[in-house]
Amino acid sequence: MRAAALVGLAVLFAAPAVRAQRVQAGAQIAFGDYREVSGDLHWRGSGPGAWASITLRKLTLEGRFARLKYDPVAGGSATEGFKATQLDGFARYYMASHVSAEIGFTKRTADPEFDAQSMAALRIGARASYLLGPGATIALRGNYLAGAKFSGGGTAPFAFDLGLSVGVGASNGRYRVTGDYDFQTAHRKTVTAAPLQQTLARIGIAFGF
């Protein structure tokens, strides 16, 4: 928490000093669906989220945070809910024709620790972004989640993250409404197959300066 506050302060103070940069930040409401091992272990939840990004010419650094309270879906075998803290980081470099190369990380922790799998992985992928009109953008992201680690152990050689983002607002980018969709799947294997999957939607407002 202290680290996040320090990063926020650093962004706020550094932004006016470097006028070539573009800084954006937003608050969001997130809602998601989470499944593990089989269709019976199924949770749905919602919670607050936030994100911030800074763009220096072709390089963009972005961080996302969401804290969801997952409750078991009726009819499933899950009995207890849990709180998930999702933290994502991206470093994006614009290549050409609206396409950027992207690396980063994803980390999801469950509380209580053993009610769901906590997960962390590196992201390697690409992102395509297009300006639909004045102040409106749409973006599609695909990341391979490399070296995924789980609190319950096991490996996931096939783990992907797919994202769709849309933003619409003032043409100068001062404010806008944002919507993000994240689909994360990991074909986790322990002794047996123990896959997990999360779909997450975030809707919020963002400010740029």
Binding site: D33, L132, G133, P134, V166, V168, P195
Partner: protein
């Protein structure tokens, strides 16, 4: 009938100049001579005109007396005496000239012969002029009746300046730059253009006063735009396109297909709620951008290059004007006007 008319016309031509001059004659003898000439009594006109010359005549009457003698001798075919009389006319009044349309051709030719036998400088004319010192001159014209060494000078309180010194004959056209030997313009003031002609001991002279005023040269204002050229808008609204809607469909389609393809079948049918909400938002945004919202203006490269060229031309022209103004501030504008004779 035709012969009588011709005689009448000739008579009118002879009488008209003399008659007009007779109005200003003060000497009674000369007036009687003029009347005798008008009555075609040439002998009487000769004797009376010669008698009048022995009197104390005003310069105008003296010129008129000699001119009457010249006319009378010319009519009587005594051309040598006519030329002598006209020479006296020219000596006294160098500017005197006859109108070839109003005097007989023989008389006019006789006057022209007399004019070429005396040295006079006549018909000195100085035009008004305004010019930048060193870039123009004052036009001076005169006629010298015989080949002679002619010295033209500008004489004034601030000094005497040589305009020209050459051998001339006939019509002479000069241009005086009104500059000192150092290149500086002559001081402002009143000058007299004096023309002296000399052949041996014979001399002739004429003059014309002028006024020289010195002023500064107007500088040019800087330009804010090139005349006839206006800047073009640097952005243009592109034509409406279905591309935003198509891209929204494409992106949401890829996201949906990717989600379906990567869903783990052992986890059951995945949730569509999250994808549905965001996809709907993307499609609505694409629809709005395609149909309702005006397309974003885009840079018009041709216009940008045109405007850049225009600005470069404007900067270059203003630099030229600045350079020109530096020169203009160092220049002097001379305005020269001729004055009536006798004015100082």
């Amino acid at each position: 009938m035709t012969g009588r008319l011709r005689c009448f016309a000739l008579l009118l031509a002879v009488l008209l100049p003399a008659g007009a001059a007779a109005q200003a004659i003060q000497s009674a003898t000369l007036r009687r001579a003029q009347q005798a000439y008008d009555n075609l009594d040439y002998r009487q006109a000769l004797s009376l005109a010669q008698a009048s010359l022995k009197e104390r005549l005003t310069p105008t009457d003296r010129v008129q007396a000699y001119q009457l003698l010249g006319f009378t001798y010319s009519v009587l075919d005594s051309l040598t005496r006519a030329v002598d009389a006209f020479k006296q006319v020219v000596f006294i009044d160098p500017e005197r000239s006859l109108d070839p349309n109003k005097v007989p051709a023989k008389t006019y030719a006789t006057f022209e012969v007399a004019l070429r036998q005396v040295l006079v400088v006549r018909q000195l004319a100085v035009d008004s002029a305004a010019f930048v010192a060193g870039q123009g001159g004052l036009p001076i014209r005169y006629v010298v009746t015989q080949p002679a060494r002619v010295v033209t000078r500008a004489v004034g309180d601030k000094g005497n300046f040589l305009v020209d010194s050459s051998v001339w004959n006939g019509q002479v056209n000069l241009s005086w730059p009104a500059r000192l030997p150092t290149g500086d313009p002559v001081p402002a003031g009143t000058y007299t253009i004096v023309v002296d002609a000399r052949i041996g001991q014979n001399t002739a002279s004429t003059s014309q006063p002028i006024r020289v005023t010195v002023g500064s040269v107007d500088s040019l204002p800087h330009l804010t735009a090139l005349p006839g050229y206006t800047e073009l808008p640097e952005t243009e609204i592109p034509p409406r396109s279905w591309r935003p809607m198509g891209l929204a469909f494409l992106y949401t389609g890829i996201a949906s297909a990717g989600t379906l393809a990567m869903e783990n079948s052992s986890l059951g049918s995945g949730s569509r709620r999250e994808l549905g909400v965001i996809s709907a938002g993307a499609l609505i945004t694409g629809f709005i951008m395609t149909t309702l919202k005006k397309p974003a203006p885009r840079p018009a490269q041709g216009n940008i290059l045109y405007n850049r060229l225009l600005k470069e031309q404007l900067v270059r022209r203003n630099n030229e004007i600045a350079q020109d103004n530096i020169k203009r501030r160092q220049q002097v504008q001379l305005t020269i006007v001729p004055l009536p004779k006798g004015v100082r």
